[in-house]
Amino acid sequence: MHILGIETSCDETAAAVVRNGGEVRANVISSQITTHAAYGGVVPELAAREHLKAMPIVAAAALRESGLGMAGLSAIAVTNHPGLVPALLVGVSFAKGLARRLNLPLIGINHTLAHVYGAFLDQTARLEQPATYPILALAVSGGHTLLLLITAEGRARVLGSTIDDAAGEAFDKGAKILSLGYPGGPVIDRLAKTGDPKAVAFPRGLLPRSGHPVDPENRLNFSFSGLKTALLYHVKGRTLEGQELADVVASYQAAIVDTLVAKTVLAVRDSGARTAVLCGGVACNSALREAARLAAARAGFDLVVAPPKYCTDNAAMIAGMAWHALRRGQVSGPDLHVAARLPADLGRVPFAPGAG
């Protein structure tokens, strides 16, 4: 069964065709980064307009690349939450129209859970094994910093999240303070490689320091707002250059990475998870990938790091996860809604083996 997936939750217009949940036949992404770079971030209406222009082109390209005609599709899947509402509406409206026209089932997909699924796209058999569960996922992007626990029965809950800024936002705002441009992640990753991560002692939000235990309710939560302020006051309006810039960037990145990894290890220990997953756009960061691998080896848990092409927003993860929903009869109606926020109740995770 081939499913066409559509993804427009943020600044990427993406379409993909995936067979039986894991065989990616086409994965097309129209990156809008060059359009947004001028504004230092994502402008929602602008994003919606760009999505509207790109959507039919990207979908047609995915179908062409897959070698299938529309007649070869079994269902249409689309991200309907969470994300930017005007942007989500473009993808959902397009998917609804196509499903109606082709008389195919429509499947609304949770973007965050799809990111977890995307980490397994090259090895979906692992998701069929009960021994892989519970899965503890760190889903980390421009809009989210979440620790999610998924059981073999398909229950999912949020164990922790940011109480202020998302980790990706910390990268973007840090880059803004240092005049490095947008998006901040790739440039910080690159510059940090030549800097000393111990040069500046930036704060690790909500991590215990000697004599300063963390409030129990924030044990698995994140805070990056204080880090941004610390960078601001370290820089004090100066324009940093050369080695000093590289050292500050490396130290800033280290504070984000240390916090993400320490909380993930803590969450694995607390929850008894058998597998940890690193996913979302920030999971592209090379220092984070390396630090997570070291921590997993030291603490002795399995770690699945999403391949970079499935870290950033894509529709292959949407079409892949939708196959499991379709198998279990979890199909959406024509009244499929969009929502900006992740709901408190994440519902049943369709790819878990016991999701029944």
Partner: protein
């Protein structure tokens, strides 16, 4: 209320004090008003917004709306707390295209707007009779101390 009306300057010594001041201020704000928060990156605008939310009895995490532009929080007992961040909005046209007016001057609602300078004079144009716009300016004195400038009648002194 004209911009030249008298204002007060409050100095806070820490983020916790800034949040506590905003928590107290929430009770003094008229229903349906819009609070605009001016201040640089890192001035503590989100901390201030969180304080207002706590003052309204909202206990859930108040997180940065930079990515989503708006975060909506139901208030215990009805009504809404809207937290907007226009950092990524270019101007009034974009704000209106986003549907900003739906979040302004609504009954049983407190609206807080970060980076309001993106709106130009849109707020004054949309201001209904009897409604109030409360401008708040946060200025960093050093890495922890802040001066909060707001209309004198709301300073609670």
């Amino acid at each position: 209320m004209s911009p030249s009306s008298s204002h007060s300057d409050i100095t806070t010594a820490s983020a916790a004090e800034t949040e506590a001041f905003a928590r107290g201020l929430a009770a003094r704000l008229p229903d349906g008003c819009v609070v605009t928060l001016n201040g640089d990156l890192g001035a503590g605008k989100t901390v201030f917004a969180r304080g207002l939310a706590r003052g309204l009895g909202i206990t859930e995490p108040v997180t940065s709306p930079t990515f989503t532009i708006v975060q909506e929080y139901p208030r215990p007992g009805g009504g809404w707390f809207y937290h907007l961040d226009l950092y990524r909005i270019r101007g009034a046209d974009d704000a209106l295209a986003f549907g900003l007016e739906e979040f302004l001057f609504q009954p049983h609602t407190l609206t807080v707007i970060e980076w309001p300078e993106r709106l130009g004079d849109l707020l004054e144009t949309e201001l209904p009779a009897g409604a109030r716009h409360v401008p708040v300016q946060i200025t960093a004195l050093d890495d922890t101390r802040r001066t909060i400038r707001l209309p004198a009648d709301l300073a609670g002194m």
